[in-house]
Amino acid sequence: MIQVPVHLSHLDELEAEAVHIVREVAAELERPVLLFSGGKDSIVLLRLAEKAFRPGKFPFPVMHVDTGHNFPEVLEYRDRRVAELGETLLVASVQESIDNGRVVEETGPRASRNQLQTTTLLDAIEQHRFDAAIGGARRDEERARAKERIFSFRDDFGQWNPRAQRPELWNLYNGRLRRGEQVRVFPISNWTELDVWQYIARENLELPPIYFAHEREVFRRDGMLYAVSEFVERQDDEDPFTVSVRFRTVGDMSCTGAVASEARSLEDVVAEIAATRVTERGETRADDRASEAAMEDRKRVGYF
């Protein structure tokens, strides 16, 4: 008997599950699309698609819903990464939805385009007649997600009905649509934020630079740090100052908070996140950074 290394690590298992899911979507649905924000979760999705289909091409295009208020570093990364992969990038623009009168821009210091993204996404899905959108949402992000299926069906209006979900058994996904339905598929549902970072480290994936600690001009609002930018109106008492920060997500500049951090390398970030989740037993509370970061994580909308 040959000795077989049977101990797959949790990352091996999560990866195998996710690759299986991505291939299932491609096989069971006619016109899927992969949603790509330039953020860490969707960067992992791109990697999983490479694992699933190389040396072939992806059997679906990659689409970004661009709020028009994105970090320039992220847009640069997005264009370069998709070009390197030789895949097709579609950009659905919130600015266009505003210009066409599909949605109305919010105004004031707290204006954000987060809510507007959904309309732009649904319009793009309709325009391209996509029947499945692969997204990078995870169950650990918020409580409502804990019960969402990996294949999550949406009605004509893109709405999720948590009370009428299909049971999901083994790795046997039922991708059959009813008339007017589409499906959102979340291959990394079972991953945690830490898993994502560990995987990025293991696969040596490049990330947009804003994920690592850098000096930035920020201001404080509701206990959180926001980047100073042309997209946000500051109030009188919101004085800018410069500190070392990193971002945990890469949404709209107007509502994506930064965390104070000195973690300048991937390894530092993984260690920082591991420390916020796995602290010494006996310590009753996670430290302040953990709570701040977690709130930020939850604030993230992008809830497609």
């Binding site: 040959i2 077989v4 290394p5 049977v6 797959l8 690590s9 949790h10 990352l11 091996d12 298992e13 195998a16 690759v19 299986h20 291939r23 299932e24 096989a27 490479e50 694992k51 699933a52 289909f53 190389r54 040396p55 072939g56 169950r139 650990d140 409580r143 804990a146 019960k147 009370r163 979900q165 299909r166 049971p167 058994l169 083994w170 790795n171 046997l172 039922n174 059959r176 549902s189 945690t192 898993d195 560990q198 480290a201 293991r202 390894e267 260690a271 591991a274 989740r277 796995v278 010494e280 037993r281 009753t284 509370r285 996670a286 430290d287 302040d288 953990a290 709570s291 977690a294 709130m295």
Partner: protein
């Protein structure tokens, strides 16, 4: 104790499902597990502290950590499986929480389908009740390799060893009857945290007579690597990779998740259902050729011969190949409101292959109270577990579920609604 990132990256994944009757303390236990392993972030904790105070609980009510489900239960609306993750220095855990209710069987079967381990709760005051036997039964038919029975609320029976031993004895009889292989019984108090993560305090130590592991110690150490089928090579073809590019002009690879055995270049292969033979030219991933691929991995296999292989075909070891079946007998859990009548047409999805089928005969249904078989039911209702004979419109390459959970399982789909209406575990197959 500090955990380095490289240590964490090498941890194994354990999938578990929890089951218990209402009020046995499942929410408290899950809350306790998350709390004592420091998964709760400061803001979540503040939230439940405030809520506990407002409700006048008099202690931090850890059950509130899963209060999303609680709210639903109180409103009496559909209860559903919820998934959670947590991690310790030794393992990464994926927990499917299947709340007890009318829809219980359906929920537990769903959560149990992928589980390595089931935690079945019971209340030490009540001992082994009908629900306990039912949960054990589901764990058995779903082939969950490891079971933990959490004998909870030991504080309410004065931590009595005698009481615990009596329950343990009764459980032994149940598990022998159900042929559960690995059952571990742990006395605990989820409320106080005794034997969940920590041993617990108290003067004198409340359960000093118990010398087994705490729940977490057991979860961290139970041996799961041996649960995979490494003996029988099975590979359902999921996706054909044909780049047709200049650099890969003749490339033809089969993407899929290994369902059994250990695969390597040079292995003989039979393609089912056609029966054609070939040999493995390479097992590969994005990173290049692999020495081996074992059950559970998603890889690409290339064959030496240019056969016409497509999605839904099964590659297997020709010496020990699966049965190419036209007829199946299976244990079915029925999951739809609409009853299953004999001779109903359905769709069967098995591995990556989907075929039409007729539920020819309802052979027997399990009496949920006695767990005895009742022959020839007229129909199956929601949550019924039954033995059913199917006739297939096209052949499937199958194993029995007892031999292989991946190639022995299928789901049933109703073609008129496209809903998933049942789960099937193959008992035997006829060609």
């Amino acid at each position: 104790m500090s955990v380095t990132s490289s240590e964490l990256m090498a941890t194994e994944l354990l999938r578990l499902v929890t089951a218990g009757s209402v009020d046995d303390g499942k929410s408290t236990l899950i809350g306790r597990l998350l709390y004592d392993t420091k998964q709760i972030l400061a803001d979540q904790l503040e939230h439940i502290e405030e809520t506990s105070q407002r409700r006048g609980d008099g202690y931090v009510n850890l059950a509130l950590l899963t209060d999303g489900l609680r709210a639903e239960r109180e409103q009496g609306i559909t209860i559903d499986v919820a998934y959670r993750s947590f991690v310790t220095a030794r393992r990464r855990f994926q927990l499917a929480d299947a709340p007890g209710h009318v829809q219980y069987t359906r929920n537990m079967v769903t959560g149990a389908s992928t589980a390595d381990l089931a935690i079945i709760l019971l209340d030490a005051r009540k001992g082994v009740v009908e629900q306990t036997r039912r949960h054990s039964y589901i764990a058995a038919i779903l082939g969950i390799p490891h079971v933990v029975v959490a004998v909870n609320k030991m504080d309410l029976v004065d931590f009595s060893e005698e009481r615990y031993r009596a329950i343990e004895q009764e459980l032994r009889e149940t598990s022998e009857r159900l042929e559960l292989r690995d059952v571990r019984v742990i006395p605990m108090s989820a409320l106080r945290g005794d034997n969940v993560v920590e041993r617990g305090e108290g003067m004198p130590q409340s359960m000093a007579w118990y010398d087994g592991p705490t729940l977490l110690e057991h979860l961290e150490t139970v041996e799961i690597a041996g649960d995979r089928d490494l003996a029988h090579r099975r590979f359902p073809v999921q996706w054909v990779i044909r780049p047709i590019s200049d650099s890969h002009h003749d490339y033809r690879g089969y993407g899929g998740q290994v369902a059994g055995g250990v695969w390597a270049a040079g292995d003989d292969v039979v393609v089912l259902p056609s029966g054609r033979r070939s040999r493995v030219a390479a097992v590969e991933s994005l990173d290049g050729p692999l020495d081996l691929a074992v059950a559970g991995m998603s890889v690409t296999i290339r064959l030496e011969d240019a056969l016409d292989v497509s999605r839904g075909d099964m590659l297997a070891d020709p010496m020990e190949s699966p049965t190419v079946a036209r007829e199946l007998e299976a244990t079915v859990c029925w999951m739809a409101e609409r009853p299953l009548e004999p001779r109903t047409r359905l769709v069967v999805k098995h591995t990556t292959r989907t075929v039409r089928a007729i539920a020819d005969e309802l052979l027997s249904v399990v009496d949920i109270h006695t767990l005895e078989d009742q022959p020839s039911p007229e129909r199956l209702e929601l949550n019924d577990v039954a033995r059913v004979r199917f006739r297939l419109a096209e052949p499937l390459a199958v194993d029995s579920y007892a031999e292989n959970r991946a190639t022995g399982a299928f789901i049933l789909i109703d073609e008129s609604t496209n809903d998933t209406v049942g789960a099937g575990m193959i008992l035997s197959a006829m060609s």
